[in-house]
Symmetry: C2
Subunit: 525 residues, 2 copies
């Protein structure tokens, strides 16, 4: 397939008029063709118009039809074959195996949502039958289902060109909920985006859905991104990226005549707590494993462990020593974009320049442009709590070990943290009491609490929470990974005393969709 | 019980230092004792401190203990006996039977949430067991439950001194979710609030819960209200009231260092669509029934039908004539407060002064202060759509009939409406097609769609949605009435690979709480 460098609006490929956006191969600095002429108000307008026109029809597609559509998208992405992986490698600098895995995850995610759509629990069907003889007042017939919020604007993420981009988790869950989607491609990987966008266009056509179910725009965050979030026909936003980007979208969404929900997954340093017994028993082993998590994918994960917290002493020194050795041996990796590499370098320099943080190791510099040189720093708890610069996320393979005087200071530090995606406990049996003391704090601070693992690697399943209190996300009541993500794009509607002919299928007498229902407060499977 | 006029902070009654707030009997103009000295920062601080201290413990109360607490609150409110009804009558001007009914609803609501807590579906327990042998990567053990968001600020509403105030729906659902609650009493009924607050204090003590589970503050919206919403320990807000009040709280909540969700139920004119066949068959009857709904409780309901939409012609003229007669015969009723009466008078005068709206009937003026004089106006659809003044909510027994040229204009008008709590269809069998054409629009515009009923009267049950798109509420994804309201105050947390000793009861192996679980994507009842 030849890349055309055009906006994909409904079933069309349209050439815009702005300055062309070119991807850059971060491993070589080479500019990649074609250029994608940036879209503007006109393209936003047309995509939103089509999305709105498609909405009422698409949200009422049957469970089977909608599930088949999601599966068809997965099939069409797989049908792109090596072309997709090769282009994504060029645009992201990520290795082949990682991108193949990410493609598997992306397609698996679409198929997971297909199964969720078919099961129909997301409809949350409720029925309180009429009680005409109730005293003092009769009860009318009341039924409830969930319907789609409306067209959703999705922002592609830099660090997952497949799984959090054009057909990633936000798109999959919004489409599953019955929402048309308008994606703003991330400018770092426009070619990958076009390929996946074409697959989506094909799936829409094959499933004979209204063309406005999906559009893909290329352009600037200011013009296309803010334009989408400001458009009255957009009813929710999915975003994965920086804190400044996410909060800007939140502001725009709140300032609209009709404010809308923004699901922004933003900033997290993912604290790892090394509890005393575990540290004593296997500090060295933990240090090595920790650096494995820290340097995976050049640390460019939202769940990268950017903070290690423990009581100071010999055991922690052993951990730091082993981690320092591992950092020194961690090969440099190409980062996703020059911009991300610059921000990383600046973040590391801030730590390095602070008299409160001590550098204990740097990794090899690497050859070529945009190499991520790993880093490990140590600071005191009191300094950490009093210095916002030490608390800032450094997106990449650098982490800070914070030494506490005792477990009380560990708890105080946990309480002082901002909202996080994850919190990790390294613990042995003898640490149960210490862990029990920390757990209520971590539950309040993070969306996912784990023991004896590492935060990188987010399973796409039913129980996953990839979310957490602000600023980890803009809305702690949800997750952006896993089947529960569908709930972000739904709202309840109650139907009172409607004739059967008007009731949606999900609510008709006899339960023709055969979905789980709450009838008079009792669960019917 | 003697009213003391004090703030109820935890287990204490504390005298504040501000200007005293006095209720006024709207039926007589009489000032009621005692005065409630307005609270300030100090009282907000103390209540939030106690709420925060209570949070970790209260959110982990067992299902049975929490349900019993909710039932105990209901028992204690009932134990107040006639004292409560009498004080509420004095402070609100509402009739005895209405307040007795409202007390029944309030206590029924608490008991409904007790049953919801016991059933445990709100925990949304999910378990994806470990798959150590999965290829290419093993899966770790992942479990999810929902936990309480944190302390919640609840604002008492003027129009339901019991059901939407101190122990109303917001408080009941927040407590059910495991959130401590700090209520700001509505200044129109401080005595009623104190009585219910004392009942709540007793229930907290009887159930041996931490005192900070509940506090009740009296004071201004600016100082106490905004103070609460700004406090870092408050994690969500429940509000029922005006659009200006609700949007002010939304702004404050968004401007915090950590933005929090605001559930504000604000403004709705609750359109009623008279479809042609129904109008032809029973226009007169509909006109009379409509005015029954319009004048109920002096029209002081969020779901009061403030707008009637139909195709013009003889049938609609018959409806208007019958409604006009009924309005003329509708006895004046005392409104809740002088402020509400003033706003009502102003709203009616705006309609009356518009050259786009024709007055067709006014009710009797009534004797004494603060009497609601019902009103009925007629306007053309094109004028309605072009004049925001005609679209504004008039809180009270006045409604506007909008005449459309044909069904297409009816649909255009429906599309032009802001978000609503309810939308009503008056329809006969022959109207099915017209109703089917309107339904997708109404679903997008309203939280509850009904046929052949009237919007006033909101059943507290499982299928109810008392919500809707902005500005009906600040968050269309929820309801403030009915058992689903509990979800507003919860967020998911995922537990990865935690030892059984650390897992919360809800997630332990063997399902000791015996709650419904989603295991590997399959529902286990």
């Amino acid at each position: 397939m030849t890349l055309e460098g055009k906006q994909l609006i409904g079933s069309q490929a349209v050439e815009a008029k702005g300055e062309p956006i070119h991807a850059v191969n971060p491993a070589t600095g080479e500019t990649l063709e074609p250029g994608y002429k940036a879209g503007s108000k006109a393209e936003v307008e047309r995509a939103c118009e089509l999305a709105w026109a498609a909405f009422d029809s698409y949200r009422e597609t049957g469970l089977e039809a909608r599930a088949t559509f999601l599966e068809t998208i997965a099939d069409e992405i797989e049908a792109l074959g090596d072309t997709l992986i090769e282009r994504a490698m060029q645009e992201s600098g990520l290795p082949q195996a990682r991108l193949q895995g990410e493609r598997g995850r992306t397609c698996g995610q679409l198929r997971l949502f297909a199964s969720v759509v078919r099961a129909g629990e997301w409809l949350d069907v409720r029925h309180d039958p009429a009680l005409p003889d109730r005293e003092p007042m009769p009860r009318v017939d009341l039924r409830q289902r969930h319907i789609a919020l409306g067209p959703v604007a999705v922002f592609g993420a830099s660090n997952f060109p497949l799984a959090f981009s054009v057909a990633g988790g936000d798109t999959a869950s919004a489409l599953a909920a019955g929402c048309p989607v308008v994606v703003k491609a991330h400018s770092a990987h426009p070619g990958t985006s076009e390929l996946v966008g074409r697959a989506l266009q094909k799936a829409v056509a094959r499933c004979e859905l209204p063309e406005g179910v999906f559009s893909l725009l290329f352009g600037s965050g200011r013009e296309v991104g803010q334009g989408l979030v400001s458009d009255a026909r957009i009813k929710a936003v999915g975003f994965t990226g920086s804190r400044s980007g996410g909060t800007a979208l939140m502001k725009t969404a709140q300032a609209r005549p009709e404010p809308i929900p923004v699901y922004a997954e933003m900033s997290s340093i993912n604290p790892v707590f090394l509890l005393p017994e575990a540290l004593k028993a296997r500090g060295k082993e933990l240090g090595e494993a920790f650096v494995g998590s820290l340097t995976m994918g050049a640390g460019q994960f939202c769940t990268n462990p950017g903070l290690v917290i423990a009581v100071k002493g010999e055991a922690l020194d052993g951990f730091v020593e082993a981690a320092a050795e591992a950092v020194k041996g961690a090969g440099a990796q190409t980062m996703l974009t020059p911009g991300i590499h610059d921000a990383y370098t600046q973040g590391v320099n801030t730590l390095g320049g602070s008299d409160k943080a001590r550098e204990v190791a740097r990794g090899p510099q690497g050859d070529g442009p945009n190499q991520c040189q790993a880093g490990l720093f140590v600071a005191k708890a009191s300094d950490f709590l009093n210095d916002e610069a030490l608390q800032a996320e450094v997106f990449g393979s650098t982490s800070l070990v914070v030494e506490c005087a005792d477990l009380d200071e560990v708890k105080a530090l946990a309480e002082g943290l901002e909202g996080q995606l994850t919190a990790t406990l390294q613990m042995d049996d003898g640490d149960i009491d210490a862990a029990r003391g920390l757990l209520p704090i971590l539950e309040r601070r993070a969306g996912r609490v784990m023991a004896n693992g590492w935060p990188t690697g987010v399973e796409v399943c039913h129980a996953m929470v990839h979310g957490g209190p602000y600023p980890a996300t803009s809305d702690s009541r949800t997750t952006s990974v896993g089947s529960a993500a569908i709930h972000r794009f739904l709202r309840p509607v109650c139907y009172q005393n409607l004739p059967d002919a008007l009731l949606p299928q999900a609510l008709k007498d006899g339960n023709p969709l055969n979905v789980s229902r709450l009838v008079d407060g009792k669960r019917e499977a």
